[in-house]
């Protein structure tokens, strides 16, 4: 299955990035082979609408699932429209661990926008 994971650096040993819209890297992974490629995230430096921008990149990669630490309301709506299921990585420390837990069905699926640890109350708003 093709999934996307938000990470700090473009590799499998890296830390997971807790933010979806403003994640440093969008790691597109084939879970069976662990083949991966990194998509840079234009949302990381966007003044607003970061979640939507990142969701658009992810949707263009035709992935089936997205794993991150937090999905804001706009990111949630956009990913849901694209038919991508969302999962929270929880206490996973690195990308590899998050993929393993996802394959084992141990990650929590998200049914609505989240208010994760990185929440600042500014989801999706531009000044």
């Amino acid at each position: 299955m093709k999934i996307v994971l938000t990470t700090v650096s473009p590799n499998l040993e890296t830390d997971v990035d807790p933010r979806f819209g403003r994640a440093a890297n969008l790691l597109v992974i084939e879970t069976d082979t662990l083949e991966w490629k990194a998509e840079s995230n234009p949302g990381a430096s966007s003044s607003g609408g970061a979640g939507i921008l990142a969701a658009q990149i992810v949707a263009d990669q035709h992935v089936q699932a997205a794993i991150s630490g937090d999905f804001g309301p706009h990111a949630f709506e956009a990913l849901q429209a694209a038919g991508i299921s969302m999962y929270i990585y929880g206490d996973c420390q690195n990308a590899f661990q998050a993929i393993e837990r996802f394959k084992a069905g141990q990650l929590q699926q998200v049914g609505g926008p989240t208010r994760g640890e990185c929440d600042s109350g500014h989801h999706g708003q531009s000044p």
């Binding site: 966007s46 607003g48 609408g49 970061a50 939507i52 921008l53 969701a55 658009q56 949707a59 706009h74 709506e77 956009a78 990913l79 429209a81 694209a82 038919g83 999706g124 708003q125 531009s126 000044p127």
Partner: protein, 284 residues
């Protein structure tokens, strides 16, 4: 003449001073001033000027609405949107109204003509006569709406001042887009500050905005309770005349807390405001 009262720091006394200036001019001039409360996120001037708000109008932006049967998901709309307010996700085109700035680019550039514009309400503007014949208007942004500028813009456009009528705009605090919009087109800025490091810090920012916009400005020092040389030095160095000093007095604080303006608490202030107005006119 359009005079905008701004401050940078919140709570320095913008509304107290704007309302007091309006009342002083209304008593004196043949045509009472037009008062615009531009702080649409937290309007409060009506508490001092007691308008009878008998006219109101919904305000907002025109936002895109996509006809799914015509849309081919080509993505042109998402590509041109600077605010990511429209996105194409697989076989769906989504609009995010709160991010839309209403520029119309998506509608104009859609090759299938699948987008039409529909009004999206963001708030309301209200107007009516206030104390001593003042023409009063304010805007109220709806709860949960993140963008105040369109409401301010439509408030300012709503009423055209009579020839010779003074316009007083009470700006929001800060130095962001809402303040720029309130200052735009003004002839003079009255920057209200207090003699504290915080007051000076934000006065510096507000004065910079005014200078960038090319609007002459003067300073009112409110709640003056001693000597704070840094503030006067700043005003001297930046050629900002100090037009009025209001002392820190318990009786003023008590009066304002009861919804009274300075000229109702201390009637002799009316003359001081009128002298200040004459001084401003001579500076232009």
């Amino acid at each position: 003449m359009i005079i905008t009262i701004a401050s940078g720091k919140g709570g320095t006394g913008k509304t107290t001073i704007a309302a007091s200036l309006a009342l002083s001019l209304a008593e004196e001039q043949s045509s009472p001033p037009l008062f615009l409360d531009c702080d649409v996120e937290a309007p409060n001037a009506h508490l001092f000027l007691h308008p009878k708000l008998d006219e109101r109008q919904d305000v907002g932006l025109l936002i895109p609405s996509v006809n799914e049967t015509k849309c081919t998901y080509c993505g042109k709309c998402a590509e041109v949107c600077q605010y990511h307010a429209i996105a194409v996700l697989g076989q769906k085109t989504l609009v995010f109204p709160q991010l839309c700035h209403g520029c119309g680019s998506c509608t104009a550039l859609c090759p299938e003509k699948a987008i039409k514009e529909i009004p999206d309400r963001m708030g309301v503007i209200e107007r009516g006569p206030a104390m001593v014949g003042i023409s009063f208007a304010h805007g109220v942004l709806d709860v949960g709406e993140p963008m105040a500028v369109p409401v301010i813009r439509q408030l300012i456009k709503w009423i055209v001042a009579q020839p010779g009528q003074v316009v007083i705009r009470d700006a929001p605090p800060g130095t962001s887009c809402t303040v720029v919009e309130s200052m735009r087109g003004s002839d003079f800025l009255l920057l209200v500050t207090e003699p504290t490091p915080f007051g000076l810090h934000d006065l510096r920012l507000a004065a910079q905005v005014g200078r960038k916009m090319g609007i002459p400005a003067g300073v009112i020092i409110n709640r003056e309770n001693g000597f704070y040389p840094a503030l006067d030095e700043f005003c001297t160095d930046h050629h900002l005349p100090v037009l009025l000093r209001i002392p820190f007095e318990r009786v003023i604080a008590e009066g304002v807390a009861q919804g009274k303006t300075l000229v109702e608490i201390h009637p002799e202030y009316a003359d001081r405001f009128l002298r200040m107005f004459t001084q401003i006119a001579s500076l232009l």
